[in-house]
């Protein structure tokens, strides 16, 4: 019975909960009283559940109230536990879950900015998503707020975290950075070159994607959703489409499933190879940067030769793929991938033989397992710290149950560990991509989407090159999007970066940041 295993987490649960049916077979939804949220969330995390995402809700047009929902991954059972609490319009608050579950910290601040629901007792009540130009009291994701109107400008002050003490100074970096890189503000508190604290402030690329897609049919919304981030476009398209398919009970064909897997691994490949090249740039090793860039270019050209797009945008569709891939191009890919793998292996040999490069990597930016776990880390950044989470194995999706990817885990948690995890995953990704082409079934690639049950909600997820991307989707009354919450891997991992830099020197910050190589646009939406 699908809910049976997750239900065992709730044996002897001292809180009153009510179960709600969900369309997806591995999701259990419970409704509790808002005052029970911290206790219940602590209770389930104490029994092995891990926070996966969290969303605010405005159900007022549906005749209900506001709400919050915390979603937990129960990897041991490949299930998800969703805990929802209705929040009345009069109260618009609930006791913060963050003191009990630190991983909730950004999610709760975001819901406060966008919905005006206050997590009382949150240790960091500052604004997160809306910067000073947005007026206070403006909550754009409320249904009674226009999606397109520009709120009046308000110039207020933002309080950066200050470290007090003699000789401590603040070093502000960004949002515009020296290289070709996304905008973000880093407020360091230093003594000399030693970093005591980093207050990282993002959301400079907040475009309002989630509000933008409300009211759109799913297939139209996908064009916007897949542009959340160009380098994670396949994982976002797969996660969103999967949520739609789970909501509607649509069966995706085997061929489309295997091709989606191939695309996801090709995305992982060019990202990891590019990130390794960037790591060389962070260490000042330009021969490594150049050679990595050539290999990344060859992989992106392969993407275009196979699918028509260098970033693989616009291939995944709701119900499968938007078009099939030609067998001649698949054969070309099957011939090219082994050549690129050999070139990558030679490239890594060169890097490992260059001691002035490898010495830079060992030590800086150490993230410990306990911090990675407490803050809900995912993907490469977590696996490099010994936290063995990989949604391809923990919550198997696409063709991964058949392809059985290998978990690549390191223990040291430093820049070198993140480098080694990427190297291992590149070799694994080449293998998975080649096997996906070799084992590709025939058949069609697109399926008609059945109508989405109005008011129902479901998750869709995919392991991107940076970690688990999780989409939470609620359908409206015309099979359109009522609410979409996009939780990218980078959103979960940015707080880890701020912890990893403490105790390092400022010149190592670019190297440490590049070793995480998180997306700002994935996080900011």
């Amino acid at each position: 019975m699908p809910f049976a295993q997750t239900r065992t987490l709730l044996d002897d649960c001292p809180f009153t909960v009510r179960t709600i049916a969900t369309p997806a077979s591995n999701e259990t939804m419970l409704v509790c009283d808002p005052s029970d949220l911290p206790g219940l969330c602590a209770y389930v995390t104490g029994r092995g559940a891990k926070l996966a995402t969290m969303t605010g809700l405005d159900l007022v047009p549906l005749g209900e109230q506001l709400g919050v929902e915390f979603v937990f991954s129960v990897a041991a059972f490949d299930e998800f536990l969703r805990i929802r609490a209705p929040i009345s319009l009069e109260r618009r608050s609930y006791p913060s879950v963050t003191p009990a579950v630190p991983a909730a910290q950004w999610y709760e601040r975001e819901v406060k900015d966008l919905f005006g629901i206050d997590p009382v007792g949150h240790p960091d009540p500052r604004r997160l998503v809306l910067h000073e130009t947005f007026p206070h009291g403006y909550h754009p994701l409320r249904k009674n707020v226009s999606a397109t109107e520009q709120a009046p400008t308000d110039a207020r002050h933002f309080d950066y975290f200050e470290v007090q003490g003699e000789g401590v100074y603040e070093l502000p970096v960004g949002p515009i950075h020296a290289g070709i890189i996304e905008p973000g503000h880093f407020r360091f508190s230093n003594i000399g070159e030693l970093i005591l604290h980093l207050d990282a402030r993002l959301f400079y690329t907040h475009r309002g994607i989630e509000k933008r897609v409300e009211g759109k049919p799913a297939s139209e919304a996908l064009f916007t959703v897949e542009r959340t981030c160009a380098t994670c476009t396949v994982s976002h398209a797969v996660a969103f489409s999967t949520a739609v398919e789970r909501l509607s009970g649509t069966q995706v064909s085997e061929r489309a499933t295997w091709l989606r897997t191939l695309l996801l691994e090709l995305e992982r490949l060019y990202n990891h190879v590019g990130d390794i090249g960037n790591l060389c740039a962070g260490a000042g090793f330009h021969a490594g940067t150049s050679r990595g860039a050539i290999l990344k270019e060859r992989l992106q050209r392969l993407n275009e030769e196979l699918t028509g797009h260098r970033f693989l945008m616009g291939v995944v569709g709701v119900g499968g793929l938007r078009y099939d891939l030609h067998s001649s191009r698949l054969e070309h890919a099957a011939r090219t991938l082994p050549e690129l793998r050999d070139e990558f292996a030679a490239y890594v040999d060169m890097l490992l033989e260059t001691r002035s490069f490898t010495h830079r990597l060992v030590g800086p930016g150490t993230l410990d397992l306990a911090t990675a776990f407490a803050l809900g880390g995912t993907g490469v950044s977590a696996r490099a710290a010994g936290l063995a989470t990989d949604y391809r194995i923990d919550h198997p999706h696409l063709a991964y149950p058949l392809l059985k990817p290998r978990r690549v885990v390191e223990e040291a948690g430093d820049v070198n560990a993140r480098f080694l995890v990427r190297v291992g995953e590149v070799m694994e990704a080449f293998d998975l991509a080649e096997r996906a082409i070799a084992g590709l079934p025939g058949g069609t690639v697109s399926a008609e989407i059945a109508p989405l049950p109005a008011g129902a909600s479901a998750l869709g997820y995919a392991e991107s090159s940076r970690g688990a991307n999780i989409h939470w989707l609620m359908a409206g009354s015309n099979s359109d999007v009522y609410r979409l919450r996009i939780r990218s891997a980078s959103y979960a991992n940015w707080p880890l970066v701020a912890r990893a830099v403490v105790g390092n020197i400022v010149p190592d910050f670019p190297l440490i940041n590049k070793s995480f190589e998180l997306c700002y646009s994935c996080c900011d939406r």
């Binding site: 520009q150 916007t224 476009t233 700002y520």
Partner: protein
């Protein structure tokens, strides 16, 4: 072995730097291509529903003629219109240099007469720009500005510095500060959160200075136009000299856009 190998390897490896293509065409790389009208449509009106961002407009005229306009500044190059056009009226072409010096000039308009003939008004901006790809120009320093992009345009920009595209052979390079820059290469829909930093970056540039809006989001807001969180492109905040359509524009198109901006500097 290590250092000698590093020094000798480039001498033994083949040159990977690619010749820049003429604006008219690109070697076939299987790319999705640029949508255009290839045959007179039996019914024009349904074609405007094929675009998820409303880049296709149609108009009916007397005598059975109709017009179709594609705004490449909004176009996501997703191929939906080509895939879904009922009788293959829309097809994918090879042009990538869709650059224009005004917002209006990055649109293409076709007029289809009742006898089935089609006439097209050019999409690209200047005739001067057509010959630019092969010029060497004086050194131009470029400052990158991400005003809320998905990063596709920015990664293509990073590719400009790789050995394959190697813009340094054209005298172009990226610099760390707007104070050192001649040209501001802007991506993204201009989010409200970033607008103040964008204005300050432009104001920090010494004159003469150029602004190039790269990608659908910077040109028109792309899929993020009409959002509470964006201004809908670079033009509302900055004086844009050249618009480069694409989602993202390929590296060759970015180079073309930069060269058109430099070539036409000072001309109105």
């Amino acid at each position: 072995m290590g250092i000698a190998d590093l020094l000798l390897r480039p001498l033994r490896s083949p040159v990977v730097t690619a010749a820049l293509p003429a604006p008219g065409g690109l070697p076939d790389r299987g790319h999705r291509g640029t949508p255009s009208l290839c045959s007179a449509p039996a019914a024009a009106a349904p074609l405007s529903t094929l675009c998820p961002v409303g880049a296709i407009q149609v108009g009916e005229h007397p005598n059975g003629a109709c017009s179709l306009q594609i705004d490449y500044g909004k176009c996501l190059f997703c191929g939906n219109c080509v895939q879904a056009s009922p009788s293959g009226e829309l097809c994918a072409g090879n042009e990538f240099a869709l650059v224009g010096r005004t917002r209006e000039s990055v649109t293409a308009t076709w007029t289809a007469a009742s006898d089935g003939s089609i006439e097209r008004q050019p999409a690209a901006g200047d005739a001067v720009g057509q010959s630019v790809a092969h010029r060497r120009c004086r050194s131009v320093h470029i400052r990158h500005l991400d005003a809320g992009s998905c990063n596709g345009c920015d990664w293509e920009m990073t590719a400009l510095l790789n050995p394959v595209y190697d813009i340094q052979r054209l005298g172009l390079d990226f610099v760390a500060s707007p104070r050192h820059a001649d040209l501001l290469l802007v991506t993204g829909a201009m989010t409200r959160n970033l607008m103040q930093a964008a204005r300050r970056t432009y104001e920090a540039m010494p004159e003469p200075r150029l602004v190039v809006a790269a990608g659908a989001c910077a040109v028109s807001g792309g899929p993020f136009a009409d959002s509470y969180a964006t201004a809908g492109g670079a033009a509302p905040a900055l004086p844009v000299d050249v618009f480069v359509p694409g989602c993202p524009p390929r590296p060759e198109a970015l180079i073309h856009g930069i060269l058109v901006a430099v070539e036409n500097q000072g001309r109105r």
